[in-house]
């Protein structure tokens, strides 16, 4: 039985956001009603950036509010979309007159509520553009369906769009940049065990001792297949190889790589995996132009990791490198 450090499961999101804001008073403010997180000092005269979605993926998104990244985060309940009104309030709060880019992970509820919020914002004369993040290679099927899920690539998009917006780019430019990154980035994940929903006592799914779940999402759903448990190098290769193939990476390619812990992966494990990813890529002649290793887009306390690769077009790197100052990402 899993236990957690919580008060009431119903209050976990609002209490955690209050805690986050108390820890970063100079960076962010949490407004419990309507349930949004904004910069402590709102930006002026720039394209606004709003993102959000279900909670349980911390530090995403509230941890990425700040200079050089988001203006506003709109967190729903655990694994549940924020409401259209919440997103609407967040969108309006993100506007400083030059329009707002909504960065939306591809999940039915999120897409619906952000779309509606955009329409409502139009009533307030706030122009909006949407960047849909759909990077999860595991859900890349031809079938007529909801399409690829949005996972850790959202971090790269928030970072890159954030830098571009901070530098003064206009609404269309920021959105187009985000869409380009969204088109090019792919992610693949695996888990040794699922996360446990606040208030629940057992993980969302369970695995045999010899099984690893490949292609997991970040909402406790099972993956697309099971592979044998193996050492870090072997497991990591099961993520890197399909990504390399999908993105057509070859000798001379250059990528931005995100090795992301899913919540229950501790630092030694994650850095052993990061080394394997790095070696796996450089061994194929692919340069790792930039990399980021840490628990950024999580699924409660899921024990696993995701690898995101994004071809490092030369014009992207300055946006990636540009200063950022948020609770969870600062350089």
């Amino acid at each position: 039985m899993r236990r957690q450090i919580l008060n009431s499961p119903d209050d976990v999101v609002s209490e955690a956001l209050e805690g986050l804001a108390l820890a970063h008073p100079s960076l962010i403010v949490y407004r419990p009603d309507p349930g949004i997180v904004t910069r402590a000092v709102p930006a002026r005269n720039k394209v606004g950036l709003v993102s959000g979605g279900g909670s349980g993926h911390e530090p995403l998104h509230a941890g990425f509010v700040g200079t050089g990244m988001l203006d506003v985060a709109v967190p729903g309940a655990v694994f549940a979309s924020p409401t259209a009104l919440q997103v609407h309030e967040g969108t309006v709060a993100a506007d400083s007159g030059r329009g707002v880019v909504q960065i939306v992970k591809n999940y039915t509820g999120d897409v619906l509520n952000f779309q509606i919020a955009g329409e409502l914002a139009g009533d307030d004369a706030v122009r909006t553009e949407t960047v849909l993040v759909a990077d999860d290679l595991a859900t890349d099927t031809d079938e007529d369906g909801p399409g690829r899920r949005g996972t850790a690539a959202v971090l790269a998009i928030e970072k890159i769009c954030g830098a571009s917006a901070e530098a003064g780019a206009d609404l269309g430019t920021v959105a187009e940049l985000g869409r380009r990154v969204a088109r090019n980035a792919r992610t693949l994940s695996l888990a040794l065990s699922a996360g446990t929903h606040p208030g629940a006592t057992t993980p969302a799914f369970s695995l045999g001792q010899d099984e690893v779940e490949l292609g997991v999402g970040i909402h406790g759903e099972r993956g697309t297949g099971r592979i044998p448990f193996a050492d870090a190098d072997t497991l990591t290769a099961r993520l890197v190889e399909p990504l390399v193939t999908e993105l057509g990476l070859a000798k001379g390619s250059s990528v931005i790589a995100i090795v992301n812990g899913l919540g229950g992966t501790y630092p030694l494990e994650l850095h052993v995996a990061a080394r394997a990813v790095h070696r796996g890529l450089t061994g194929r002649g692919v340069t790792v132009a930039r990399s980021l290793v840490g628990g950024y887009v999580t699924s409660l306390d899921m024990h696993g990791l995701s690898v995101t690769l994004l071809p490092a077009d030369p014009d992207l790197l300055p946006w990636w490198d540009a200063p950022v100052r948020t609770p969870a990402l600062t350089w």
Binding site: P34, G76, A84, H88, L112, Q115, I116, E119
Partner: protein
């Protein structure tokens, strides 16, 4: 050349009357609606509707609306501030309904246009067709019936009564369907035999509209959802 009844005003204070009837109608029925979602969905539909209406009531209590558009906007916002798929869809549906009147209370024709627009919005966002076992199965026949009734010159009371009956009929028809949209679509054949809660709620709100137009003394009969 027939005369339409499009320009006839609905009863004075129709907005307030409808909203009051709505609260009344749904008051002790969200449990039953939730139960339907539990049988063929994820079980949260009852909570979603009741919290939407609670939110609407709160805002009405704080700032009582002054006209039709205000009353229905409160309902719209209540749903837009709620989760699930039904929250945003009903929220946007009521937004179109709230906007249908040029000024003050709507004419029957404006109301009919609002219903048609609301249906279109729900379909634009939800991508559901008739037969997919969703609220569309109640709203579509209702909107069609009202348009015809208006074109045929039916009086508002009769027109809205027919509309509600069409909606209830459409909702009941979902019992035999397997779902193609929403959570119920994940459970396949298991949903067959279960009334779609969203369709049921859509029909109930049109029953409430008919009663509001008919005037005091009546009661919306929702016993049909217990099937």
């Amino acid at each position: 050349m027939t005369t339409t009844s499009a320009d006839i005003q609905l009863v004075p204070d129709f907005g307030r009357l409808w909203v009051d009837t709505l609260f009344e109608t749904f008051l002790d029925r969200t449990g039953a609606l939730g139960e339907l979602d539990r049988r063929a969905g994820d079980g949260d539909f009852g909570t979603n509707v009741s919290s939407a209406l609670r939110r609407a009531r709160q805002s009405i209590d704080v700032a009582p609306p002054s006209d039709y558009s205000g009353w229905l906007t409160a309902i719209s916002r209540g749903f837009l501030g709620t989760g699930g798929t039904s929250g945003p869809l009903f929220g946007m549906f009521f937004r179109d309904i709230a906007r249908c009147a040029a000024t003050g209370e709507p004419t029957l024709g404006e109301f009919s246009s609002g219903l048609t627009a609301g249906l279109a919005t729900v379909q634009r966002y939800g991508k559901a067709q008739v037969g997919h076992k969703t609220m569309v199965d109640a709203l579509a026949p209702a909107a069609g019936t009202l348009e015809s009734a208006v074109a045929a010159g039916a009086a508002p009371g009769t027109a809205l009564e027919k509309t509600a009956r069409a909606a209830v009929g459409g909702a009941r028809g979902t019992i035999e369907l397997i779902a193609k949209r929403g959570r119920a679509s994940y459970v396949g054949d298991v949903a067959r035999g279960v009334l779609d809660p969203g369709a049921a709620a859509a029909a109930m709100l049109l029953q409430a509209a008919a009663l509001a137009q008919a005037g005091p003394g009546g009661r919306v009969d929702t016993s049909w959802i217990d099937g």
